[in-house]
Amino acid sequence: MIRFENVDKWYGPMQALAGVSGEVRRGEVKVLVGPSGCGKSTLIRTVTRLEAIQGGRVLVDGVDVGARGVNINRLRQRVGFVFQAYNLFPHLSAIGNITLGLTKLRKMGKAEARERALAELARVGLAAKAEEMPGKLSGGQRQRVAIARSLAMDPEVMLFDEPTSALDPEMVGEVLAAIKQLATNGMTMICVTHEMGFAREVADEVWFMERGAVVERGRPADLINSSAHPRLQRFLRTFA
């Protein structure tokens, strides 16, 4: 579904991504972990070309994301992206945030879009807050609306960039629950997170990144318990 082939990226003299390779097959859930600045957010952003790359390729469903003539807008409809800072549109209500894409891109009629949007909000448990403005919602609620906004476009893949890092601890649970449900229902996902418990429950594979490269990968249980992965152990110890 998504393939990284030797991806390189520089910010000026600093190398943000160094020869990253890997594959995410349909239905798989990969979790990216690592210290700040290791490039995990950068990597996930290259999938929808929010970041450009200088070397290698990123392929989504066989299509090279950076190739000429690629309809990047169409691609972005197929790949959902949830940001750390939610990035809801503050001038639109919760349901408005969702119907925007449905009416303007999927060309749905207003009534149909509303119905669909309400269904998505219900799925994340926020049907009652449909008409609220984002400014009135709590962090956890905003993130769930952001997730619903992405899901409404019927994506084949969902990307999460530290979805709970900006939340107060009490609200982390509700967002993780929503994401977990997606995983259970078979959504292909890449999730950048610090929540190791979440990784353990949901991930098929965990990639540990450091200084722009994937230095260790494996099944969650293996990585966390096994002593064959010293750098990850050190990271988990200092982090936990």
Binding site: N73, R76, F83, P90, L100, L105
Partner: protein, 232 residues
């Protein structure tokens, strides 16, 4: 000093009419110049968005000229200078069709447009890049992201400064008196020179200016409150 403050002399009969005509001209000038300023300001903003260097320089030069040259001098350039460059028939047409009012409108409108363009630009720049990213991430193109997400928010932010520009424009109409436009200040001086009641005449004009200015300021404050969005 034995000076008796008597508003009646100034507010009676024809003098009252003069004040009203002056006020009408001031308002007409403000509105005409405002329309020109908004139109030109939007055009400048659009030109600026085109990723072509010379266009950016043009807008930058336009803005810097209108911000660094005194407005009175700009009015003189338009009123004394430009007609001398035009062919005779054009000059005669201008003279026959309220030339002073026309040229004052152009000068005031184009000058205000520079500030309008800057206010809109500030509004757009103040929208976090992340909003554009989020809009693009659901698949909206450049125009869609601009039109449905960035601009609606930018305009809300730009409204209070734009109302402030309207206030400035209103006050700047008084400069048109220097080229003979019969707006409020000009008429006030006329009343003053006919009645010799300087204090009363200027008091009336001051009251009128303040009333309208405070009205505009109040609109600005109200708009600022109503349009405030909490961050999401």
């Amino acid at each position: 000093m034995g000076y008796i403050f008597d508003l009646r002399g100034v507010l009676s009969g024809q003098y009252f009419d003069w004040f009203m005509i002056g006020l009408a001209v001031t308002i007409a000038l403000t509105c005409a110049a405002w329309c020109l300023a908004m139109t030109m300001g939007i055009i400048l903003t659009l030109i600026r968005m085109i990723p072509f260097r010379p266009f950016e320089w043009f807008v930058a030069l336009y803005v810097e000229y209108h911000r660094n040259v005194p407005l009175l001098v700009q009015i003189f350039v338009w009123y004394f200078g430009v007609p001398s460059l035009l062919p005779r028939p054009a000059r005669q047409w201008i003279n026959g069709h309220h030339g002073e009012f026309l040229l004052a409108t152009i000068a005031l409108g184009l000058a205000a447009a520079a500030y309008v363009a800057e206010d809109i630009r500030s509004g757009i720049r103040s929208i976090p890049k992340a909003q554009n990213e989020a809009a693009r991430s659901i698949g909206l193109g450049y125009l869609g992201a601009m039109g449905y997400v960035v601009l609606p928010q930018a305009i809300r932010i730009a409204v209070p400064p734009l109302i402030n520009q309207t206030l400035l424009l209103f006050k700047n109409t008084s400069l048109a008196m220097a080229i003979g436009v019969g707006e409020l200040t000009y008429r006030t001086r006329e009343v003053e020179s006919y009645t010799f009641k300087t204090f009363e005449a200027f008091a009336v004009a001051t009251a009128i200016y303040l009333a309208i200015s405070f009205g505009i300021m109040a609109c600005g404050a109200y708009a600022g409150r109503r349009l405030k969005l909490e961050n999401a």
